[in-house]
Symmetry: C2
């Protein structure tokens, strides 16, 4: 389907379900963007889930978002259970504004929800020539190292930096070997998942997506990946006043209350120490890595973000392919 047409439909679906024009526009933009960058697990596959939560009033259509200014650099947001896209979008915009004034901005967000890809928010900062970390926690998916039960979310470390060219450096590394959205999508489409990335609820390896969702995902690099997921839970949840320690609710399966996801955004002026020399040096840095001898397994050495950017550029010209079952869901939601 044509991107503009699709965006209008999604927007319409959200407005029909009660979101304001402004919030519907923010949300549909991010959902379409997930499709365009090649992350459909964070796109249309989640539309029904968002609408379900809106209908059950677990996502607040008319949130009173409270913004508390702690200093010129630091702000705290209570998103009042707004849809995650809006909670996070408010947060990153304030962090950017604070960083522009003082060289550094930090914003903690509580009472928010699943916000799509962290790279959406990192990109906003990088486009304003700022360096950024975005952290969010998520419902239990990964077993802490040494445990057989899921507790941490896939809790990505997301970092962005201006590159001096139009393709930003954006690392978005989840702590799980593959992301949970990919497993959800495999389940939806009846596909198998790769071996070695998940255990079933009895702690046995599985390639069945449904069993993996009932069981646990494995962290990257054992205790290191587990530790990184724990760090993200602490800074997104404990620090901000959001849920944490396995208490963030699963947006699909748990309709007993709002998710209360937490986010932390840290934004820095990249010239804060070295001025304009930052751009000269980052260009040298990227060039030094890209010109290294490469293994036969890859065509080109890429920096984080290049791949998603290339997919976006390619997909923006094409129509978006929508799997049948998701198209049916979408049509039902639009017909309400």
């Amino acid at each position: 389907m044509n991107t503009q047409k699709l965006k209008k439909i999604i927007n319409h679906v959200f407005i029909k379900h009660g979101l304001s024009n402004k919030h519907a526009k923010i949300s549909s933009n991010y959902i379409i963007k997930a499709e365009l960058v090649g992350a459909p697990s964070h796109g249309l596959a989640r539309l029904k889930m968002y609408c379900n939560r809106i209908k059950k009033k677990l996502i607040n259509c008319k949130p009173k978002i409270k913004i508390k200014k702690i200093s010129q650099s630091i702000s705290h947001i209570d998103a009042n259970n707004a849809i995650g896209f809006v909670g996070a979008d408010t947060g990153i915009k304030i962090a950017i504004s604070n960083a522009k004034k003082t060289g550094f901005g930090m914003v903690g967000v509580k009472n928010s929800g699943h916000y799509g890809l962290s790279s959406f928010y990192a990109e906003q900062a990088v486009k304003k020539n700022l360096m950024v970390w975005c952290f969010t926690n998520a419902p239990p998916a990964i077993a802490p190292y040494g445990s057989t039960k899921a507790l941490f979310g896939t809790n990505p470390v997301c970092f962005g930096a201006p590159t001096g060219n139009k393709i930003p450096f954006i690392l978005d590394a989840s702590a799980s070997i593959i992301n949970r959205g990919k497993i959800r999508r495999a389940e939806k489409l009846g596909q198998k998942i790769p071996a070695g990335v998940a255990l079933d609820k009895n702690g046995k390896p599985t390639t069945n997506a449904k069993k993996a969702l009932e069981g646990v995902q494995l962290p990257i690099a054992e205790f290191k990946g587990s530790g990184l997921a724990w760090m993200v839970d602490i800074v997104s949840g404990v620090l901000t006043g959001a849920n944490h320690g396995g208490k963030v609710k699963d947006p699909f399966d748990d309709l007993t209350g709002p998710q209360n996801v937490g986010h932390l955004f840290i934004v820095i002026k990249p010239g804060i120490f070295v001025g304009k020399n930052y751009l000269t040096q980052i260009k040298k840095n990227l060039k030094a890595v890209k010109r290294l001898p490469r293994s036969n397994m890859i065509k080109k050495i890429l920096y984080p973000g290049e791949n998603k950017y290339a997919k976006y550029k390619k997909n923006i010209k094409k129509s978006i392919e929508i799997p049948d079952n998701i198209l049916q869901e979408m049509n039902k939601l639009n017909a309400i």
Copy 2:
């Protein structure tokens, strides 16, 4: 050897080589501490290297460390090629002081050197009830994803948080599967390294420590570990004005100039958003993870930092065992 006696000898060695009393004390403390926490690869095994670099004037014995205050929260340090321990120690102390005043402190350090374990500096902040990230880059050891040549250092992500008890949460996760110091120590002691962690200079897997040092180490989790190492290089090197992109000199093998390592310290008041509730929540968080069902492979679920703390407590009561060849090195240095 008795810890106090050993510390005196190291201190004496450094003073003989020209460090000031103050800088010798800082450096010997950190070297002994590496031994006590069970990281001998960052301890006495490096003493000769530091002394060599001092003799060659690549480490500056009388550095004029310049501290530039950018705001109440942000400072930039030119360590003037001081020994890395001193450059970093100055940096973390200022970051702590800034954070105490404003809730947030950020310090970039350039013209520094290898500073031992990141957890040394994280611990200082956590002991003052602060949350902290410590980043440092390092000489080439890891091949970027898709390349066959080492460029990134083992570039750890180090994060610390107060726990409300005497054992701090300190994650110190390097981007390599095993740390370079362990390979160096294996080489020194004539031991093999595990399979699957390194390639020789021809890109073939090796368990020979010497060949691994000539070749490349493999990053954790492929492009994710590679991306994390790249992020650490950008924030430690490009941002601060230090070397980066493979230009940080190897302290053992490259005597053509000072290392110019860079560090970045970010320190946050953990109560900045939620006040005293932070301590209540972090305790709940740790308890929630530690009481999960555990696999048969481990005795107890531990948070990052517990293991090193236990080793420290155990080792502080014992004498430190020193391998013969390192003892000989030390005696030679002390006899100068």
